[in-house]
Every structure is written in structure tokens, then in C-alpha cells.
């Protein structure tokens, strides 16, 4: 390549001015969603590590309570139902968003947030119950890894609810502008991703944990 010239040849005339940057956008129009997907994949690795820890330590009871003794499947079934329902209600919100109908969308988002809040409430009650019967995270390796894995998921859901509230106030203020739609799609991916992780949690931790 020759050196970049800063002077015009006289014959060039009124051609286009020299530019030293790309004048056209080189990224895809929905690059944000791809970037957010990459984030979700890295989050997936965090959960993979926590699942691996639970897989290694999940049967080390140290003379303490076993999974079959402390894990209550009916409560987990309710939690699973709540999270699955919140996934489909978020899906309905996305459908309303695509049709630019703001108030039904806000209604579905509110229901989603309430279902998520119920999920967190039930999970916190389960944790409080475990701690109260002396099965806190310090009791055994099994309970340490259990609280870390399930607690990390619960923390993600809590963050998702806070994000949902912030986003709803943004939509209420600015309406369904493209930026808000993009944010809603990111939260949609986040929310459904948490449901995917929960599938792993209830299968690997709860259902397999109570097997003899």
C-alpha cells in the first residue's frame, strides 16, 4: 500500500473527500442481540462450573441431611410451573410488542414479573426453611454446592425482575421505540435462558438429588 496522501491531485476535481474511516456500517443491524447471546453463553459457562461442582460434591453429606431428606419436590414442581408460565407470558409480551400494542404488552410483562417474584419468594422460603432446620450452606459440601448453584440462579432471576421493572418504566416514558424493542428482546433472551438453566437445576439437583 502506498502512503496515504493528504493532498488532492489537481485533476481530481470535486471528487469525494478523503475519509479515513468506514463510511458504511460493517456490523449487522442486530449486533446487540448477537453480543447479548455471547454474554448468555459466558453465563452458561458459569452455570456449567457450578453444575460440575454440584456433580462432584452433591453426594458428600458429611453426616448431615441427604437430598432425599431435605428437598421438597412439590414446592419445586410449583416453582417449575411458575417459571415456565412466566416464560410463556413473556412470549405473549413479545408478540404484543411485534404488533406495537403497548398496554397489552405491559400487562403481560407485569404478569411475568409477578410470576418471577412468586418464584423468588418460594425459593427464599425454601432456603429459610433449610437454614432453620440446621441444613444451611455450612452444614455439608452437598448443601454448600446446592446453595451456590440454586442461589446463583435465584440471583439471576432477581436481576431479571429488576431489569424488567426498569424496562417497563422506560417503555412507559418513551413508548415502543426501536431501542426499547431491542432491550425487550435482550431481556426476552435472558428470561428464557434462565428457564433453560432451571431445567438443568430441577433435573440434575432436585430430581436426581432425591433418588436413592
Amino acid at each position: 500500500m502506498s502512503e496515504i496522501s493528504t493532498t488532492y491531485p489537481a485533476s481530481a476535481g470535486p471528487t469525494q473527500p478523503l475519509v479515513f474511516h468506514e463510511t458504511t456500517e460493517s456490523h449487522t443491524p442486530n449486533g446487540t442481540l448477537l453480543g447479548f447471546w455471547i454474554y448468555l453463553m459466558s453465563d452458561c459457562l458459569i452455570f456449567a462450573c457450578l453444575f460440575a461442582v454440584y456433580g462432584v460434591l452433591g453426594r458428600e453429606y458429611a453426616g448431615g441431611p441427604t437430598g432425599a431428606e431435605v428437598l421438597e419436590l412439590p414446592a419445586v414442581a410449583v416453582n417449575t410451573a411458575l417459571l415456565l408460565l412466566s416464560s410463556i407470558t413473556y412470549g405473549f409480551a413479545v408478540l404484543e410488542m411485534q404488533r406495537d400494542r403497548q398496554s397489552p404488552m405491559m400487562l403481560w410483562l407485569t404478569i411475568t414479573g409477578l410470576l418471577g417474584a412468586c418464584f423468588i419468594t418460594l425459593e427464599l422460603r425454601e432456603f429459610a426453611h433449610l437454614v432453620s432446620i440446621g441444613a444451611g450452606p455450612q452444614r455439608s459440601a452437598f448443601l454448600s454446592s446446592f446453595f451456590t448453584l440454586v442461589g446463583t440462579h435465584g440471583l439471576h432471576v432477581t436481576c431479571g425482575i429488576i431489569w424488567l421493572i426498569v424496562l417497563m418504566s422506560q417503555v412507559a416514558k418513551k413508548g415502543l421505540i426501536p431501542a426499547n424493542k431491542r432491550r425487550l428482546m435482550c431481556l426476552s433472551m435472558f428470561w428464557h435462558f434462565l428457564d433453560v438453566v432451571w431445567v438443568g437445576v430441577f433435573s440434575f439437583v432436585y430430581l436426581m438429588g432425591v433418588l436413592p
Partner: protein
Amino acid sequence: MSAHDDTQHAHDDGHGHDDLGIHATFGGYMTGFVLAVILTVIPFWLVMGHVIEKSSTAAVVILALAAVQIVVHMIYFLHMNAKSEGGWNMLALVFTIVLVVITLSGSIWIMYHLNSNMMPSMMDPANLP
């Protein structure tokens, strides 16, 4: 039926004025939801009803159903396909799955062997080399 109407609307509007590249449909969400419910109820029923006697068999069945359900969620809720984002979504996903499988199977495999080689009998000074 309203399901059909919703599908049509979502398609029409989706193409018009957002370039998010995702066209969710009512039918897609409902298919995913029904499949997810079925795939959730079966493992809970298997465990809570003590259907399978052998623990290892039950564990394999539960994990297999979980894997299928995760795929269902990916396709119907997260709208994954080979074409989204020009294939980069799928590439990142495949890469992540490879890492997840290495992390999980590697950890459990190695730690299992470490455990079985660290039985109390090995700690007896008489058995040490």
C-alpha cells in the same frame, strides 16, 4: 381460531419496522410451551411416583428428558436456528456446548477417580509406599 390470526399478525408486523430479525409467533410459543410442560411432567411423575426402581436408569431418563427440553426451549423460546445472526449464534452455542461438556464430564470423571483412589484404606500408613 385466534391462534392463526395471531400468527399472521406477528408475521406482517415483524417484517415492517423492526430489524430485530426475530419473528416470534403465537403458534411457536404454544408448541414450545406444550412440549415443555409434557417434558417437565414426565420426569416429576417418574420420581414422585417411584416409577423406575433402579436409580441409575431413572437418572439417565431424567437427564435425557432434560436435554430434549433444553433443545425445545432453545428452538421455540430462544428462536435458535442455523441462520440467525448469519450462523454466529449457532457457532457460539456449539462452542459453548463443547466447553460445557468438557467441564462437566471432565470434572465428574476426574473427581470420581480421585475419590475412589482416596479411600480411607489408602490413608493407613502401613499401606503407603
